[in-house]
Amino acid sequence: MQTRSRRTTWNAGLVSGLLLFLAIVVIAAIAPIAFGSAAEESGARQGPSADHWLGTDTAGHDMLLRSLVATRLTLLMTIGATAIAVVAGVLLGTGVWLMRGRTREVCLRVIDGMVAFPALLLALVVAAVLGAGGSSAVVAIGIAGIPYFARLTGNLAAKVSQQDYITTARLLGVKNTRIVLKHMLPNMAEPLLVLSASTFAQSLTAISALSFVGLGVQSPAYDWGKLLNEALPSLLAGRPYQMVGPASLIIITGIAAILIGDGLAAMANPRSSTKRAPALTVPSGSVLQQDDDRSYVATIKDLQISAGGVPLVKGVSLGIKEGEILGIVGESGSGKTLTAMALARLLPDGLSSQASKLTVDGLDLLGAVPARRMAETVALVYQDPGSTFNPSLRMGTQLTEVLTTHKNWTKAKARQRILESLRMVRMTQPELRMKQHPHELSGGMRQRAMIAAALSNEPRLIIADEPTTALDVTVQADILRELKRINRDYKTSMMFISHDIGVVRALCDRVLVMYRGEIVETIDASNLTEVQVQHEYTKALLAATPDMSDPLPVRQRAVPVSTDSTEGVLHV
């Protein structure tokens, strides 16, 4: 739940749901009084006619009138069952939350066990004890709904109880019951209301189902389910019209309840209703210039990226030389990641980009490039090694995938190569790692694996997007050393993105400083001192670095410039 201003926007669903429901309630109130006796008039069995729009049943009762009259009983029974489920469920759910340690654990287990069970069985057990009948159907369906409601209330309570104000109230020694009544229930009201609406819809169909199979309302009383029950033989005999009235009323009421529930949910969660920015067209090429410097592995000219008209990268041009490590520094949202992703042709959906030139290793990225060529040319190492690997697959399966896909190698050959690469990045126990799932590896190990995957393809360019930000300081140093070694030993060019100017200075040959979508300064890493840089922003970045002599600073601080740059900022 976000503390966004909650506008009570009445969405169309909620309004139509409420109107439908109101209509049903009016029918429930009026129909038994107005048509109660007319619905009992018997006669001959007839098909639909001007007198009997929906025909009559075998005893000659008008089906339309009976369907309308049955609304009251059906509605009352459904409300009864819903009330049982809601009240008992909330009491149980919050009650469990009030318990301590072991008891709470056991109770949660019991409720869990019951939820995992078909509610039907519970309903039938109750029906078996109480016998067939309307009131026992209400009790049965009500009780059957309790575990689920209790479970969800328990979840909500657990979530709400972690909020600051609850903790504060507890510290102040406010009594538990008071906390529940004053602080928790009001904050759970919205989701509980949504849930109640859906419970109502479920209870309606369930109660009608019990009457339909003969375990609910008994003659001469009738609800919609009972009417369906009486109509079944007629249906099988080829007279379906008798079903129409009760069936459509059940559907309409159910839809009304669901619309109300959905509407309430949408109201409570404003994010769900906001439309996302429409997808825009991706790269459109333009004039190619012939000033190609052969020593550049990658070239970008006049790259512009925007999201829904908001410019995020404003005309960036850069080149990466053979065997060079080019650093790009800048704060979050400065456009450095987007620039790199454009070069990798991995811009997220919804962004549009334009450039007059975009090449890697002689490949024109503005046109179509075969996937295999792309995979063999550019490799990526991402920021958070915790999420870059697929949690469901073993490391070996994932790492070998590039090779089996693009080089058409056999599994065994790919495995050999990956093992080699893993040894190259000095991964401990590589054979074991191949069999493990990502979560069994440490962050540093996963990042080594990512680098190994990059290496295995012998790419021309490695784009490393803040590869050490999520790692411990010591691990960070290891990974940086690894990248440096690869660059030295295999002459692989690199684009190294960071917001940590100290790291960049230690690793890179040349550094670009980006600020609000533009390159504000290009400088050799060795000249990266406060005396030699030109731009104010670079100076500020440098000033924010704790110790100028430390090659790998302990922890970067927030850059104290430009607090107003949030608009249009998108950090990928």
């Binding site: 078909p118 189902a209 375990l215 079944l232």
Partner: protein
């Protein structure tokens, strides 16, 4: 009875996911014991507890009948001799503790008692009905998975990051509408459309023919699956959207894996946890459930059986069915968890009680 199984699912799938967080979400410290061993011990124990709970509940069904159970069971027209016979037959004249011990002893030795109506062992009654329910439930869940998973994934892919909003809306409205129609009403529509109108699928209840005719299961299965297909495909659609946003999908794109591999090999396994958890619930609902559907099509399955038993006050049959259906549901839950464990061993440590 599908309307029970997707209780709460209709309004928001989030509700279901909240009640059953995907086990991945809970990362537990790895224990010294082998995960499968501790899983077996834990689940074995919980199966035993479930069984005992079911025995107690089924025992209580008779005890809790308001008034004198013997009178109620014998029925309104019974004379005193009948009542006494019932009392003796059920052992209602014995002290409660002794009754329970006798009952549990019988159940453990596989004796579920004798039906009042059929005058044959309850186990025979149940076994003769089980195949019908099992057939439509198994066919049902297979159909649900085969249709809902590809459908949900496809819609999820086509509508990712706000594309094709018309499809998103249309899909939501149609599935929402179909999902809100109770299975038994769907069943009647199907009967009108196919059995009466076109006459492709026979209404003939399988029991009346010499063998189980496949065609006569088509309509019951169809009626049973339409709601769950909507529920599951909506959940899969939503999960697909979530999975596609994940960093590991970017990794797959970065490795330039072909689209088919990205979706099938990379995305699908991550959808399975939620899908299977939900399907397990739907399946166990179907097995006990098909009740109303069975009534519409006059299938002699467990559903019609337990209804008839309740109406006939055939308590031994009711008790036996509660135990059997309950154990089947427990077995399905276990099966789903085993499958989840095979997919990802982290799921083995999963306890739902992480509130």
């Amino acid at each position: 009875m599908t309307e029970f199984t997707n209780r709460g699912v209709q309004t928001s799938e989030a509700v279901v996911l909240e009640a059953f967080p995907p086990p991945n979400a809970v990362r537990r410290p790895s224990r010294a014991m082998h995960p499968w061993l501790s899983f077996a011990i834990r689940r074995g124990a919980s199966l035993i507890v479930t069984f005992l709970a079911l025995v107690v509940v089924s025992f209580l069904i008779v005890q809790l009948i308001p008034g004198d159970p013997a009178f109620a069971i014998a029925g309104a027209n019974a004379d005193l001799a009948d009542v006494e016979r019932v009392r003796q037959e059920l052992g209602l004249d014995l002290p409660l503790g002794q009754q329970f011990m006798t009952y549990i002893g019988q159940v453990l030795s596989g004796d579920l008692g004798t039906s009042f109506i059929y005058r044959q062992p309850v186990s025979t009654v149940i076994l003769s009905r089980l195949p019908f329910t099992a057939t439509i439930a198994v066919a049902g869940i297979v159909t649900v998975l085969l249709i809902a998973v590809p459908l949900g994934m496809m819609v999820g892919l086509l509508t990712r990051s706000g594309k094709r909003s018309w499809l998103d809306t249309g899909f939501g409205v149609i599935t929402g509408f179909l999902d809100s129609i109770p299975g038994y009403i769907v069943a009647t529509f199907l009967v009108i459309l196919f059995a009466l109108g076109i006459g492709i699928f026979p209404m003939l209840p399988p029991a009346y023919s010499t063998r189980m005719v496949a065609e006569s299961f088509v309509l019951p299965v169809a009626a049973l699956v339409i709601g769950p297909i909507c529920t599951v495909s909506r959940v899969v659609r939503r999960e697909t959207a979530v999975v596609l946003e994940n960093d590991y999908m970017r990794t797959a794109r970065g490795w330039r894996l072909p689209a088919s591999k990205q979706y099938v090999k990379w995305a699908l396994p991550n959808l399975l946890t939620t899908t299977l958890t939900l399907s397990g619930l739907i399946f166990s609902g179907m097995i006990g459930g098909a009740i109303v559907i069975e009534s519409v099509f006059a299938l002699p399955g467990l559903g019609t059986g337990i209804i008839k038993a309740i109406l006939d006050r055939d308590y031994p049959v009711i008790q036996g069915m509660v135990i059997v259906i309950g154990m089947i549901a427990a077995a399905i839950n276990l099966l789903v968890d085993v499958v989840l464990g095979l997919i990802d061993s982290r799921n083995l440590g999963g306890s739902h009680a992480n509130a």
